[in-house]
């Protein structure tokens, strides 16, 4: 995509993109703080630095579109409108959590918002997204399924099966690879045959090579609109590689010591929220407007945190509920 030309976007959309990125950033930072306070247990994978992708797609999607994402999915779930206290509550193992404490950080889901799940086995959700797209195509609803995954995911079989399958059935699914340069700790380039782990494989499935700046919310938004609309109108799938970087380690336990010196600092210069703020100011939006959005977003996160903290832990009778559609867990009579 030609990034030298300014995107033609209304200020309303731009402010929405900024607001969404702020919500994702502040909520994710809060999740990190709550870890440090030992209020969030288990593992957690933050997407600090990758917000422009979730926001760009989140704003572009129709309310009835489907999102499929990974264990690094807090932002994608929030970007569909899932409540912050539902997300933070789930991370804290509270009754108000989106999954009542049964799923945890890696499985955030809010079907009412089209957030069809966060999947923690690498690659598994790519064919699942294809299935949702098949269903949309079959029912003739013009819904699109958008499936987010990392660079490391391009080396597992399910990625390749899903792409071929989606293309031959011309499914309305958009695959979004968030290339943050690392799988867990290993640089993706050192374990992949091509430079662009997703985009350089696209031609094998008859798809065009698409690489975008994943730290530029406008560019992501434009790309999202373009390929989602094409998919909606029966034009079939797309595979989009978004270049980005995670500011924190892979997961809670990871200090990120494998990164070359200076790499993080360079990417912090390209922080999606920082560059977006500068762009908005450059477009003549007054600073007070932005500050108001920032204050409001922080306030929302504070309220959600307090609500989640105040929520009781799940009651023990929930353990034996909801394996089966009738609500039970019975395996015998």
């Amino acid at each position: 995509m030609d990034t030298s030309k300014p995107m033609i976007l209304g200020n309303d959309i731009r402010l929405e993109l900024y607001k969404m990125q702020l919500d994702l950033r502040y909520c994710e930072k809060r999740a990190y703080d709550l870890f440090l306070q030992n209020l969030i247990k288990g593992t957690s994978h933050l997407s600090l630095g990758q917000e422009a992708i979730a926001a760009g797609f989140g704003v572009a999607m129709r309310p009835d579109d489907y999102t499929f994402c990974t264990y690094r999915g807090h932002a994608h779930t929030l970007a569909r409108g899932a409540s912050m206290e539902g997300v933070l509550g789930e991370l804290m193992g509270r009754q108000c959590g989106l999954l009542g404490g049964k799923g945890g950080s890696m499985h955030l889901t809010d079907v009412t918002k089209g957030a069809m799940g966060s999947y923690a086995i690498i690659g598994a959700h790519l064919p699942v997204a294809a299935g949702a797209a098949w269903s949309a195509q079959y029912r003739g609803t013009e819904q699109v399924a958008v499936c987010f995954f990392g660079d490391g995911t391009t080396n597992i079989g399910a990625f390749h099966e899903a792409l071929n399958f989606s293309v031959i059935w011309k499914l309305p699914v958009v695959y979004v690879c968030e290339n943050n340069l690392y799988m867990e700790y290993t640089p993706i380039r050192s374990v992949t045959a091509v430079d662009h782990p997703a985009a350089d494989r696209a031609s094998a499935y008859g798809l065009e090579k698409i690489v975008v700046d994943g730290n530029d919310a406008d560019e992501v938004y434009h790309t999202a609109v373009k390929y989602m609309e094409r998919a909606r109108k029966g034009g079939g799938p797309a595979l989009i590689e978004c270049m980005t970087y995670r500011h924190s380690g892979h997961s809670r336990a990871d200090p990120g010591a494998y990164r070359p010196k200076g790499e993080l600092e360079r990417w912090l210069e390209r922080d999606p929220i920082k560059i977006y703020r500068e762009r908005l100011l450059g477009l003549g939006i007054v600073e007070a407007t932005l500050t108001d959005l920032e204050v409001e977003s922080m306030r929302k996160v504070d309220v959600a945190t307090e609500t989640a903290k105040g929520s009781p832990v799940p009651s023990l009778d929930q353990i034996d509920k909801n394996v089966w559609a009738d609500g039970s867990t019975a395996w015998r009579n």
């Binding site: 489907y66 889901t109 086995i121 598994a124 294809a130 099966e161 071929n164 009579n333």
Partner: protein, 325 residues
Amino acid sequence: MAELTYREAVAAGIAQEMRRDENVVFLGEDIGAAGGVFKATVGLFEEFGPRRIRDTPISEQAILGAAMGAAMTGLKPIAEIMFSDFLAVCWDLVANEIAKTRYMTDGQITLPLVIRTANGAGSRFGAQHSQSVENWAMAIPGIKVIAPAFPADVKGLIAAAIRDPDPVLVFEQKSLYAFKGEVPDGEHVEQIGKAKVLRHGTDCTIVALALMVHRALAAAEILEKEHGISCTVVDVRSLVPLDTVTILAEVAKTGRLVTIEENPRLCGWGAEIASIVADEIFWDLDGPIIRITTPHIPLPSADLLEDNTIPSVERVVREIREKID
């Protein structure tokens, strides 16, 4: 009543439900235009067309993933995995995704889907195309597991599986595909989770599944006529949910339990039944529980070797005579 083969009953069950519900769709390798490698889906493509009967590439993860994604968004997919051995290449979808999603999402996502697969020995296909893997599936919370032995059950249980709001894994025994039996006319739906008592006896209760039900019946006949041992035969039909009420009642009546299992020995389904019987009706037993299983080896291919590996009628007769007299 019409007489159908086991394979015809598969297609009949699917067709019955596809006529009734537009949201039922079917996908798998060679299932459509070719009618299935076991010819168990002949006629469906002609009747329902390529929109609902979809041939897929050799992509088992894509097949089950697509079924799952479709099931969570309003369809009722049936996915075929050609041989049950191949479940190993898409086991993540079965064990981690399909089985667990409803619980992990606290009920937000329900998955009304069916996985059908050809299971079991008897065709001289060797260790990667003949396994009985029902015990793998039984070990995973969140998926129902059925294995019909007769054409009527094939039709009725497949229909029930399609209507079931939860994921159901159907093991069809591939060497039974040519077996003929009466199937009720008109709409036929069985209940998942019910065992069936096929023969009443007084000396022992044989509990069996799929192909082993046929061997149990043949053995019971010989034991009765030639050796004066009278056997009850229970067709388990459904491993999950398990009809422990019927099984416990029938074992309590005779005081002896014999399981006949095609799966290899360790952690076979019969071990679970043996454990339940020992826990709950130990004092009704008159002697040790007998498990007759395939030994704990990969399956050999040659006729003679395969026939002497999975439990045969002769072996069932011999073991019951030795241990029950």
